[in-house]
């Protein structure tokens, strides 16, 4: 509270050479109550938004601990005892290759994030360090393609994959990550702000090759940015639905989003709702927990890359 009144006190001080001290006192009091009222309103709105954000996930977690029968009986705020039961029925269901889907999603996301982060760093470093002809034009080009969504070329990519027998494989899902303009842009912003070019010159004098300079000097410097981008790429790939839905056909190759979408094709009245809620919990909650652990780091990363400095 003391710190909120500070600017007001300064304000009063500034005006104190005026004769009407009492009036100023009244004004300060009035201003103080206004701030308190504003504070109450602000906190109310914030709490309301927090509830709005958390409530769906709360229902999700509650319902994954309740049996199908309990869920159909109606909603309750208390947890049930069917967590392990739902877990087992989900993983034992032969129609839903849950373990396989989890591993598939994990594999694709890890590969995508690794490739994207490594090659984007490399590309960003090339733009940052070397002064070659056409550098600005090429970088402008990267900025331009950053805005055009990849979904637009998905028809062409799909037919291309069909031509080269790449349908129902992970190559078209993983390899395009090597060219991720957004990550390149982010990495370059980071490099431009933290890396002095003299560092590389010093390493050259010591006789290091260009690639080994990148691996041994630039990459350690880029670590914080790489970590942030790794998380974003991982999450993006984990959640990706549009293109995998077109490419993947066989059940064993499916990722989590495809499994979830696949449930809708079956008759909803035959659903074991506990199982469905459990599936969605597994799709959503682990990532959220990871996020909550790293949130400070991630939120800082959002502004770093998105707003041009």
């Amino acid at each position: 509270m003391t710190s909120t009144t500070k600017p007001l006190a300064n304000n009063a001080e500034l005006n104190s050479n005026q004769p009407m001290n009492i009036k100023i006192d009244n004004d300060a009091k009035k201003a103080k109550t206004v701030v308190i009222i504003r504070k109450i309103v602000v906190y109310l709105v914030l709490i309301l938004l927090t509830i709005l954000c958390v409530f769906p996930f709360y229902i999700l977690i509650v319902n994954c601990t309740r049996s199908n029968f309990e869920i159909q009986q109606g909603f309750s705020f208390t947890f049930g005892n069917f967590f392990t039961y739902n877990w087992n029925t989900l993983f034992d269901d032969t129609n839903i290759p849950m373990t396989r889907a989890l591993l598939n999603s994990l594999f694709i996301s890890l590969c995508t994030a690794t490739l994207s982060v490594y090659f984007s760093s490399l590309t960003a470093y090339a733009f940052h360090q070397y002064n070659f002809k056409g550098r600005n034009i090429l970088f402008t080009f990267v900025l331009l393609i950053m805005m055009v969504p990849t979904t637009i070329s998905s028809l062409g990519l799909l037919t291309l994959c069909a031509q080269y027998d790449l349908l129902d494989t992970y190559y078209p899902l993983i390899l395009p990550a090597i060219a991720s303009p957004i990550t390149v842009f982010y990495m370059r912003q980071y490099l431009d702000s933290v890396m002095p070019k003299e560092l590389v010159e010093a390493a050259r004098v010591d006789g290091s090759g260009e690639l080994s300079i990148f691996h041994r000097i630039v990459m350690p410097i880029l670590k914080p940015a790489m970590a942030v981008q790794f998380i974003f790429c991982f999450v993006g790939s984990w959640n990706n639905y549009f293109f995998p839905a077109l490419i993947i056909q066989s059940t064993n190759m499916k990722t989590i989003p495809l499994i979830i979408a696949g449930l809708q094709a079956s008759d909803p009245t035959t659903f074991d709702l506990g199982k469905v809620y459990m599936l969605m919990t597994i799709a959503i909650i682990p990532l959220l927990l990871m996020y909550l652990l790293l949130s400070k780091f991630i939120i800082k990363g959002v502004t770093l890359g998105s707003v041009k400095g």
Binding site: V42, I59, N131, R135, N239, Y241, L246, I284, K296, V307
Partner: protein, 329 residues
């Protein structure tokens, strides 16, 4: 000695610039194979009659612009309208709430506590799998789902309802999901913008007795405009691509008479279900033109400040750049 060193460095200079190109190879090769060629292929298909009925494939036969005529005589305008409606329903609360939060979080006089906690919470839905989120809301809003249950329990409504059968109900819920997923992100971006405003301006305003409303409309808003518009247009580009949430919430049907069917859902159906590659190509091209136009706006906008500079400033910058260029390899 001196001369020799000079020659030596010049030699190295040339060889170093070469490394710039070498390191760019992976990016551009992959870009050409996985994005550029497919994009050209997509453009190409839009001029061909090319579809499958069952196992028989028809085409590709060149038909000129008849695919475009077909989609415009069909429902593309309706789906474009739906997409815009869903975007507007979402963007109005999203921008207003985010602006409010950004101003509140950065207001020194309010001195809010636990802003870190609130920021963490409001950004959280952004990371959720959109497909799972759509499915979750479908179940939450089902006619025997938790929301209906709670509303009946609290006595707010008398009997169960199915929101999927209401045109505006479905649109509202889709907009709500999108709002939840994106308002945290927007808040954080706008906050960075507000914090970038020179603090002395606010101090001066406070001393002059400017209240929060006046300060907001006369100082914050005008100075925030560039970032505000940047966020608005990028969100429109995202809005054009609205897919996962709407697809899963309406189980691919797009609700009553396809009233919540978006452009991307239309494209998905053309490629995946109907396998009508000709028309899908035409829809993709239309989407490309729209997003390219919007991207160009963003680009022009972010570079506008540069163009506003006076001739002298431009010259100085150019000289500075040249100096910088000669300094590095």
């Amino acid at each position: 000695m001196d001369k020799r060193m000079k020659i030596n460095t010049r030699k190295k200079k040339m060889s170093y610039a070469k490394w710039g190109y070498i390191l760019l190879i992976p990016f551009f090769v992959v870009f050409i194979i996985f994005q550029f060629i497919p994009l050209m292929q997509t453009f190409n298909y839009s001029f061909y009659e090319y579809y499958s009925i069952g196992l028989t494939e028809i085409g590709p036969n060149f038909v000129g612009i008849s695919n475009y005529i077909k989609i415009f005589q069909g429902s593309i305008l309706k789906y474009a309208g739906n997409t815009i409606i869903l975007w507007i329903l979402c963007i109005i609360p999203q921008m207003s709430i985010s602006l409010l939060l950004a101003v509140w979080f950065t207001d020194v006089r309010l001195h809010l506590r636990a802003t870190g906690f609130f920021k963490t919470i409001i950004y959280m839905p952004n990371l959720v799998m959109a497909a799972a989120f759509g499915m979750l809301f479908q179940m939450l809003f089902a006619s025997n789902g938790p929301i209906v249950d709670l509303l009946i329990g609290w006595g707010w409504i008398k009997e169960s309802f199915n929101i999927g059968q209401s045109v505006w109900g479905t649109r509202a819920v889709i907009a709500l999901m999108n709002f939840l997923m994106w308002f945290g992100n927007t808040t954080i971006l706008l906050m960075a913008g507000v914090m970038g405003i020179d603090n002395t301006v606010y101090e001066a305003a406070t001393i002059d007795g400017s209240g929060p409303f006046k300060t907001f409309f006369h100082i914050t808003m005008p100075l925030l405009m560039p970032i505000f518009i940047y966020v608005l247009i990028t969100s429109l580009i995202g809005g054009v691509q609205l897919f996962d949430v709407a697809q899963l919430f309406t189980a691919g049907s797009g609700a009553v008479n396809g009233s919540s069917k978006t452009l991307m859902m239309y494209l998905y159906k053309l490629i995946g279900t109907s396998r009508n590659y000709g028309e899908a190509g035409a829809v993709s091209v239309v989407l490309f033109v729209v997003t390219a136009f919007l991207s160009f706006m963003v680009f022009a906008f972010t570079h506008r400040n540069e163009n506003k500079l006076s001739k002298k400033q431009k010259r100085l910058i150019k000289e500075y750049r040249l100096k910088e260029d000669t300094q590095d390899d």
